[in-house]
């Protein structure tokens, strides 16, 4: 059916602004003319819902386009360019760095209706339009004995376009790599409305687009690499009295030669938040918990690797529990996937970091961050794909109770801990607007200049997702608040 475009009922006594359902910007009117009313949202009630992602609310867009084909994207981009209006790409808006939230009045292009997906088992490839939900790639490939390994915790919701935009990772990334490792080629629409098909030969321009958060072009389709799933998987959970010990166990296990397929970490606040929600018997008193999968086609090796991890955990002071059944390991992994939203029960908002540090520095880093959190008095939790050195320290807050300035200061100090230990600001969630203020400390001025040159080469008018990733060229101090 055609969704109704405007309210079916006349004005109501509710207070506040009123809209009359007529496209209220020339751009919306033009898009409605060229694309038809089904693909364009112009009423305020509709546009309001395209101003946020999972972490931030931005500016209400001038218009929203729901394209069904690459040609629709081209039309939309050209119209926006003619009107001088910035363009923001949007997948499922599960992003955690404000990437899909417009900072200025923009045209939002939401890919959720571009969901064509084909699997080519003989080539071990899938071709997906950008609105395809991540999990459905594996679902469609599985009957052919194949899977798509990148598995962000949001994989039931997030889209391939958004995954490419953020170069999303997931628990499997330690052994199997992140989204970018599975992209063989992609199609994108540039700022001028031209369509390009990129492979990874010659200059790896596809690699440049991956992780660019919609600031260099709009990805419309991607060719993804599929792999056969490992025959055997073994799961264990280890709990530690103190958070640094968990990190020590990780370093030791990897040094001993184990390459777990997943190696995740949750501190006490996380396990308790999840336990409040799922009640599956997580150890509430532990300072930190590790969740580990070892996998492969040879059962003996898989068990040996699990034993290596187990020994390292015990030596670091941990208690180990092996998942006896598939159901038990599924429950443990569901626990991990539920961390992020379960935290919402503690405070309505959070400042979410996504640092990556060298594995050798992990014990110091998690301890320093814990100490910063305790000293600040703000609820702070840590979790992440610790096998990769990827940590998600989250500051939970309620702006009515906690000062946003204090939150920002703590986030800044955490970012500095990462940088001091030779780490970076983003492992997988992107810089977006949330971590943009810290970029100057993380990236030297010459390199920032080079990044700006790339940006200008592809987007000379700065119309693609402006205000994201790169700090303004003329500003010098970090200042923005969450």
């Amino acid at each position: 059916m055609t969704p109704e475009k405007v309210a079916s009922t006349p004005g109501s006594p509710a207070r506040g602004p009123r809209s009359n359902g007529v496209p209220d910007s020339p751009l919306a009117a033009e898009l409605t003319r060229t694309l038809g009313p089904k693909k364009v949202l112009s009423a305020r009630s509709e546009r309001l819902n395209y101003r946020y992602d999972a972490i931030q609310f931005g500016e209400t867009p001038l218009a929203v386009v729901l394209p069904e084909s690459t040609a629709d994207v081209v039309t939309a981009v050209r119209a926006a360019r003619a009107a001088g209006v910035p363009v923001v790409g949007r997948g499922a808006a599960s992003g955690l760095s404000g990437g899909a939230a417009p900072l200025r009045e923009s045209l939002v292009i939401s890919f959720t209706r571009m969901t064509r997906l084909e699997v080519f088992p003989e080539r071990r490839e899938a071709r997906a339009q950008s609105g395809v939900v991540t999990l459905s790639v594996t679902e469609k490939a599985r009957p052919h004995g194949l899977i798509y390994p990148p598995d962000p915790a949001s994989f039931r919701t997030s889209t391939i376009g958004g995954n490419l935009g953020e170069n999303a990772g997931g628990p499997m990334c330690f052994k199997y790599g992140v989204t970018g490792d599975y992209v063989k080629g992609l199609e994108f629409v540039d700022e001028g409305g031209e369509v390009h098909e990129l492979t990874r030969d010659a200059y790896d321009l596809a690699g440049l687009l991956i992780g660019s958060e919609g600031t260099l072009g709009l990805i419309t389709e991607a060719t993804l690499r599929l792999t056969p799933p490992p025959r055997y998987t073994r799961t264990l959970m280890a709990s530690f009295p103190e958070v640094g010990e968990a990190a020590e166990a990780v370093s030791a296990a990897i040094a001993a030669g184990a390459v777990p397929s997943k190696l995740e970490f949750m501190d006490r606040a996380c396990t308790n938040a999840v336990e409040d929600f799922l009640a599956i018997g997580l150890p509430r008193e532990a300072g930190a918990v590790l969740l580990v999968d070892t996998d492969g086609d040879d059962l003996e090796t898989v068990e040996e690797e699990r034993a290596l991890v187990e020994a390292a955990c015990l030596r670091a002071g941990g208690t180990v529990r092996r998942a006896a059944t598939d159901a038990e390991s599924a429950a443990l992994w569901q626990a991990r996937r539920s961390v992020s939203p379960a935290l919402g029960r503690i405070r309505p908002q959070r400042m979410n970091e996504d640092i990556v540090v060298p594995r050798s520095a992990l014990p110091d880093v998690v301890r320093e961050i814990r100490a910063l959190g305790d000293a600040s008095g703000l609820p702070l939790v840590q979790f992440g794909h610790i096998g990769d050195g990827n940590l998600h320290p989250n500051i939970l807050f309620d702006p009515r109770r906690e000062s946003p300035a204090a939150v920002h200061d703590l986030a800044h100090e955490i970012a500095l801990v990462a940088i001091r230990h030779g780490g970076v600001l983003s492992g997988e969630h992107g810089i977006g607007t949330m971590k943009r203020p810290f970029m100057r400390e993380a990236v030297d001025p010459v390199t920032l200049g080079a990044l700006w040159s790339v940006k200008h080469a592809l987007d000379p008018r700065e119309l693609l997702n402006p205000g994201k990733i790169l700090p303004d060229e003329h500003e010098d101090a970090p200042h923005a608040h969450p």
Binding site: E4, S8, T9, P10, S12, Y52, T157, F277, R400
Partner: protein
Amino acid sequence: MNNEIPVQSLGPQGEVMAHAVDACVHCGFCLPACPTYAILGDEMDSPRGRIVLMKEVLEGELPLADAAPHLDRCLGCQACVSACPSGVPYGELITSFRGWSEPLRERSPFDRAKRAAILKILPAPRVFSVAARVGQYAKPLAPLLPAALRAPMDLLPEHVPAMQPNARVTPARGRKRGRVAFLAGCAQQALAPNFNAATLRVLARNGIEVVIPEGQGCCGAAALHTGARDEALRLVRQNLRAFDPDEYDAILSNAAGCGAGLKEYPVVVHGLEGEERARAFAAKVQDISEYLGKLLREGDLERPMPTSRPLTVAYHDACHLAHAQKIRLAPRELLRAIPGVTVAEVPEGDLCCGSAGTYNLEQPELANQLGVRKAGNILSTTPDLIASGNIGCHTQIQSHVRRQGSRVPVLHTVEVLDLAYRGEL
């Protein structure tokens, strides 16, 4: 999500709404669970989008009329509640919002008359039965009618059975093990009288005495979920008077929607007189499958007879059982307790069938798309029987399965059990 909802001016229901809005972290985990998002693919018709719309209206930032079309498309299926790890009580939010906003809505006279008629006819079994018969005879005229009138007719079975009055007390057979009160239901009595007959037989066979308390009425869920809050409150009070929770081991319903409605009573009267009684009442309410499932687990359920040949039963999770009441296991266990039965899982099982109370009447096109999808998914399991625990799902599924050319019987879970007891499966 932070809100600036003027809670004081909205009363106790305002608190409920503000709490729900605050609890949402807009992570989007609920999106893939939502049937309207699955079909329409836009944020306004997703749970997260609807929460934002309600927040904006309550804060006075958006006219109600602008948000209404998207909120009206919500089935109230609560699949989003099952999917939400932050525990956002979306069901309470939308119900409270509908109650709050209904008096502020400007509806056309036709719309008003239709809604009033639905709310009058549904809860009155006798009126419904007459209406259904009239509708049945008018069926050949259906193609000539406007869509709004055609939709309800499409759903009527070819044969509307005669009403069967139920005894006020059905004694236990054999050793008496319990005494329960039963909500006889309204529309269901007219459309599928055998649901109740089978329920009474199965309970009696298991030694349970069943009382159908006099003075009971419609559970009020239909009124509540369409925003007719005063009418809902009246019905809630009536039932709270009719059922004395202290007198029974349990208060049973065999319609998932009604059971969920009864369990909601404490929220309905939150902050009003009778909250205490409503809590005692709700604590006793159980779905028939929940109650029988407990007997089964305790080894107290009489064993059903084996089927005459192996049967595949496609079990359909009614939203108001699976999502609203979190009952998934018990009905499956009851079916599996019948020797010879294999329970088939339906693909996209969590997606609503589109029936959802009065949704079929108010959003016929979306309801139809969901019905087609559900019937296709069910038939893909090539079942010998289809079972579910809700009258709304029952009529919707039956009608769509027939339209797809299948004659597979569609039964209530308790009817399957009843047939097994009688050796007729």
